[in-house]
């Protein structure tokens, strides 16, 4: 298994009215330092926004709580993300399927799975972790 050459941790206090802030911070860093392709950046923006919104809505029952994004980059090859909270977790209720068209919710994990090569939800040592691996083509990186 290859290891990330670049690792960086971003932290925030999650709040329902502020789900975009941390996602934007990570994407702006990737755009500044690593990735040139707007489509790849938009994919990662959606993934991060969905994951952070899940934490804001569910992890702490709508109250503020710790939220962390652990970023790993293997330049020219892939980006990995771990979106971490210390709240109640999915408790075996993680659904990766696309719900019916009339459903008003439940699409977040499906979207994350569709936009990544690998997506899973873990609970370890009190942490709830959404893990994302996304391969990114050689031409999509900054030269």
């Amino acid at each position: 298994m290859e290891h990330a050459a670049v690792k960086k941790v971003f932290q925030a206090i999650s709040h329902p009215g502020d789900s975009r802030k941390l996602a934007k911070e990570v994407v702006e860093y990737l755009a500044r330092e690593h990735l040139a392709d707007p489509d790849a950046l938009h994919d990662l923006d959606i993934i991060l926004t969905e994951a952070c919104a899940n934490v804001c809505r569910h992890a702490y029952g709508g109250a503020p709580g710790r939220l962390e994004v652990r970023l790993g980059v293997n330049p020219g090859r892939w980006v990995e993300l771990e979106i971490v909270d210390w709240g109640k977790g999915f408790a075996g209720d993680a659904r990766f399927e696309n719900p019916g068209p009339d459903s008003e919710g439940g699409r977040g994990l499906y979207i994350m799975r569709m936009l990544s090569n690998h997506c899973r939800v873990d609970r370890r040592d009190g942490e709830n972790v959404v893990f994302i691996h996304k391969d990114i083509g050689a031409t999509q990186w900054k030269s």
Partner: protein, 114 residues
């Protein structure tokens, strides 16, 4: 909500939003639309998404909720002018065929009954 413009065209209500439709804004949009839809005079709702730069699953949920509300009341609901990010997000969750989408101004005029 300075990024939102509401316009009446006959008995149709058109919403035009500029910016990102995410968890941070969907609650406000729902409350505002609820107030506008009190009474029976609005027969059609159109949401113009041409200037929406980003939309997440909360935004999708908002569109689905408006669609359900309007259809179950025997009223009409349309999307108009999908921006590329919105089209991509709706395509991801396979809802491009689910919503009725107005492709141009002629279709908009016809849908609004003017």
């Amino acid at each position: 909500m300075e990024k939102l413009t509401l316009r009446r065209i006959g008995n149709a209500l058109m919403l035009h939003y500029v910016g990102e439709i995410t968890l941070e804004i969907t609650g406000d949009l729902k409350r505002l639309l609820d107030a506008e839809l009190e009474g029976d005079e609005v027969a059609t709702v159109v949401i113009d998404l041409g200037d929406v730069s980003f939309m997440d699953s909360s935004g999708i949920g908002f569109l689905v909720s408006v669609n359900t509300r309007m259809r179950s009341a025997g009223r009409a609901f349309f999307l108009y002018r999908l921006s590329p990010p919105v089209e991509k997000t709706l395509g991801l969750v396979q809802l491009l065929q689910f919503f009725q989408i107005l492709s141009d101004e002629a279709a908009l005029t016809a849908a609004c009954g003017k």
